[in-house]
């Protein structure tokens, strides 16, 4: 999804904060960004699935990105947001992030692809972008959503 495109136009990423780090999510897969709201728990699902919300009449499952990344769950704050991403296989899914920062545009030469790494920490990131001297890890959303059991279902 966020592979480097052949044309040289910049790709826009939403810069989000999870834990102490900044991540970039390809803007083209983002449907919406909403504030924290009441989440209805769904029994017998993976711990990082917090439940479902009502997004204007649509039921959307919500995943806590901190938990998925193996971080501690923290209390939701004023800056906590749910970014709703649209996926081909699963429809809409919400990701709880600590904060949404800004939109960054990355040219092709600002993105450095990471070699495939099996260790867990870098698993979610498939490239790194350089913006104004700081680094933004670009999320591979397929890996983020990957879940053994859901893979079997699909």
């Amino acid at each position: 999804m966020n592979e480097v495109k052949v044309f040289s136009e910049a790709i826009q990423y939403i810069k989000i904060e999870v834990g102490e780090e900044f991540y970039g999510v390809d803007i083209s897969i983002i449907d919406n960004i909403v504030r924290m709201q009441r989440i209805t728990r769904v029994p017998n699902v993976a711990p990082y699935i917090k439940g479902v919300i009502n997004l204007r009449g649509e039921i959307v499952p919500i995943m806590n990105l901190r938990l998925k990344m193996g971080l501690e769950e923290i209390e939701y704050s004023k800056t906590t947001r749910i970014i709703i991403i649209k996926t081909e296989n699963f429809g809409k899914i919400g990701l709880i992030v600590d904060a949404v920062k800004e939109v960054v545009a990355l040219e092709e030469d600002q993105i450095e692809k990471l070699p495939y790494d099996n260790s867990d920490e870098n698993h979610f990131v498939n490239a790194v972008g350089k913006v104004d001297g700081s680094l933004v890890s670009l999320l591979d959303i397929n890996v983020v959503l990957y879940d053994k059991s859901s893979r079997e279902e699909a």
């Binding site: 009441r38 209805t40 728990r41 769904v42 029994p43 017998n44 699902v45 699935i49 439940g51 479902v52 919300i53 009502n54 009449g57 649509e58 039921i59 959307v60 499952p61 296989n89 699963f90 429809g91 809409k92 899914i93 959503l145 059991s149 859901s150 279902e153 699909a154």
Partner: protein, 706 residues
């Protein structure tokens, strides 16, 4: 010309006509001499041909055309229907069905010419006694013309869609003239010219076309007649049959060179087809309206039709036609909806004014809310009605299936159907066909005894009977498939189950007959001693069961060995909106579908007993296992242990269970929403709904708990 927009309608209507043909031909088989049936078949075949032609599906058109020829002969009493031709007709319907499915999935009819079928039809026509010679003669003429036709097949093909010239009748003398012309190496060309809608002096334009064409050849037939054309007694198109030395393209361009002519299409006249067409036109004077109607819809363009047809093909190639699923709605139902919507708007306005009026009394607002409630309930009902279609469309194909099975299995059987008009939600009707077919095949193959003598011994008539009954029962629709056949051999099932290791012998001993029979619904469980291609591969009943359960229905079987079996399918009337009981468990709100609920009981903790490590209650004589929902759902109950339990007794088939909940909040009509694919692993939760305050409540599926 873009016909893709008519594709939906075409597929829908084709299916309808095919179904109609199936039914009628079945009737015909019973009563080979019934003129009404023959006429009806003829009409359906003719319409189908016209539609296929309009859409540019040449093979389909060709096949229906040949079929129509057969019926035209039958109708004129020149041929008799026999068993052989009925079989071929059914094959032909299957072939047409295949075309339609191909068109539906890919937009193309496929490349099966079904020449063998066409040949059988032709043989049938040739084989008939009267007029045989003339027909043969014409045919050989046609064969001579064949190579020519092939050479220009491209152009001739593309013009097929609007070929109203094809329906021109020929007098005997004209036929002779045409044959002569062909012998002399001239070409007989049919031409249909369409005048632009905006054209004012149609007659004048037509006259110019006449003149242009006459320069190239001799006009032998004109439809309407030259006089009528002169008097402007024609719609937008007229057809000519021309004998000429020039080819089609020359004629077409001559015609289109005249201004205000929208287009001219043409092709070489095939003399063998002509006589049949002639009869078609006689009886169906009103029929050709189909074609002009479509023609009139097209946007005027002066491009020649060859190019047009090509672009149609291209369009079809490009976007694979995803055919929308449609429901035909009675206009009255739509009017009702419209009325209700206007009432809804009025209700909203009243509510707004009631709320904004100074010193608004709660009474007034409540009154308006009640009004709003009644409007939305009615609206819901109306919308559901719009979605409802009779199951007729599905069950109609079964008589044909049973007929085929009868031949294949060599058993005599009859299918009796009732309640075809019973309505169900469109989505359910679409899905219910396969399970029903499985059950019917099952009855035909395993149900009805193979041995006629055995039937006689058992005091049953020689021919087996299968019944398909549908009726509405409260909020459910019940469909029953019954047969007077062998019934289920419980002992055989039991042995098979033990043999397969599905159950142990001890288990088998303690299981009741109905429980044993229910084993049949397990995957890969077939008791058929022989695997036939009709059923017995063990992929029947479990598929039936899971399909019906996916439609929130249930299936049940009762059987008496030696007397027959009865399969009962119970389906909810609607899927999207249900009545449900709202409950609270561990502080969370859940909905339990009302359809599953038997009773709600208050149980003193002492009444709960333990049997085989399972908690049960004795409710009016029956022992019911209880399920603590807070444990299943993984949350803490808010009730104190000494308090009475609230137990919701639910039922699945004959099995009951008591669900322990914390609190009841009431009954509510809820709209079912899917949880989405990402978290559909939770079996206990069948979906979610959005409550009045925007909160999400999950729907518990009691069937998954039992």
């Amino acid at each position: 010309m873009d016909v893709s927009q008519y594709l939906d309608v075409f597929i829908d209507e084709s299916k309808e006509h095919l179904q109609n043909l199936n039914t009628q031909i079945l009737d015909l088989e019973q009563e080979p001499g019934n003129m009404d049936t023959i006429n009806e078949i003829f009409r359906a075949a003719h319409t189908l041909k016209g539609m296929a032609g309009t859409m540019g599906y040449k093979r389909m058109q060709n096949l229906t055309h040949n079929m129509e020829n057969v019926f035209s002969e039958v109708r004129n009493g020149e041929a008799k229907v026999n068993a052989a031709i009925v079989d071929v007709l059914f094959q032909c319907l299957d072939a047409l069905d295949e075309y339609v499915s191909n068109i539906q999935s890919t937009g193309d009819e496929g490349d099966n010419d079904n020449e063998n079928l066409i040949k059988v039809f032709n043989d049938f026509l040739e084989g008939k006694s009267s007029e045989g010679e003339a027909a043969k003669e014409e045919k050989s003429e046609a064969k001579e013309a064949e190579p020519e036709k092939a050479a220009v097949a491209e152009t001739a093909d593309s013009s097929d869609e609007d070929a109203s010239w094809k329906s021109i009748k020929f007098a005997e003398s004209q036929l002779v003239v045409m044959k002569e012309a062909i012998k002399e190496g001239k070409k007989v060309i049919g031409l249909t010219v369409t005048v632009q809608e905006s054209c004012i002096l149609k007659a004048a334009r037509a006259f110019l076309v006449y003149k242009a064409v006459e320069e190239l050849g001799e006009i032998i037939v004109s439809n309407p007649s030259a006089q009528d054309i002169e008097d402007e007694k024609f719609d937008l198109e007229f057809s000519l049959i021309v004998i000429s030395d020039s080819d089609i393209e020359a004629l077409k361009s001559a015609a289109t060179n005249v201004s205000e002519i929208e287009k001219a299409v043409g092709g070489y006249v095939q003399l063998d087809g002509a006589p049949a067409e002639e009869k078609a036109v006689e009886k169906n004077e009103s029929e050709p309206e189909n074609k002009p109607a479509v023609v009139a819809d097209k946007k005027p363009s002066t491009v020649d039709s060859g190019a047009n047809a090509a672009s149609v093909n291209k369009a079809a190639d490009k976007k694979k036609p995803v055919v929308n699923r449609t429901v035909r709605v009675d206009i009255e139902k739509l009017d009702d909806l419209m009325n209700l919507v206007s009432e809804l708007i009025i209700a909203k306005n009243s509510l707004v004014s009631a709320a904004t009026t100074k010193g608004a009394s709660t009474n007034n607002v409540n009154e308006q809310i009640e009004y709003l409630e009644s409007v939305t309930t009615n609206l819901h009902e109306s919308v559901m009605k719009v979605r409802m279609v009779p199951i007729e469309s599905v069950v109609n194909k079964f008589p044909r299936m049973i007929r085929d099975l009868q031949k294949k299995l060599g058993k005599k059987m009859e299918l009796y159907m009732s309640g075809e008009e019973t309505e169900l939600d469109r989505t359910v009707v679409d899905e219910i066909g396969d399970p029903l077919m499985h059950l019917l095949r099952n009855s035909a193959d395993h149900g009805i005894e193979d041995d006629v003598n055995l039937r006689k011994e058992r005091g049953k008539p020689e021919a087996g009977s299968i019944w398909l009954d549908a009726y509405q029962d409260g909020n459910n629709v019940v469909i029953e498939v019954r047969d007077d056949g062998n019934g289920i051999d419980v002992a055989a099932v039991r042995n098979k189950a033990i043999e397969r290791g599905t159950i142990t012998e001890e288990q088998a001993a303690s299981m009741s007959d109905p429980e044993i029979i229910n084993l049949l619904f397990l995957p890969s469980f077939s008791t058929a001693k022989q695997v036939s291609d009709i059923s017995g591969r063990g992929v029947g009943l479990d598929v039936v069961k899971s399909k019906i359960e996916s439609l929130s229905g249930e299936v049940d079987v009762k059987s008496v060995y030696g007397e027959g079996s009865k399969w009962t399918i119970r389906l909810p009337l609607t899927l999207a909106i249900i009545q449900s009981l709202m409950v609270v468990i561990g502080g969370e709100k859940y909905a339990i579908p009302l359809g599953n609920i038997q009773t709600i009981e208050s149980i003193v903790p002492d009444e709960i007993r333990t049997v085989q490590q399972k908690e049960v209650i004795n409710l009016r004589g029956s022992v019911i296992p209880i399920i603590r929902l807070n444990e299943v759902l993984g949350c803490e109950s808010t009730r104190k242990p000494e308090e009475d339990y609230i137990v919701v007794v639910v039922k699945k088939g004959d099995v009951q269970a008591g669900l322990v909940i914390d609190e009841l909040t009431g009954q509510q009509e809820i709209v079912i929403k899917s949880l989405g694919k990402y978290i559909n692993k939770s079996k206990v939760i069948s979906g979610a709904t959005i409550l009045g305050d925007g909160e999400v409540a999950l729907i518990i599926d009691p069937n998954a708990l039992i």
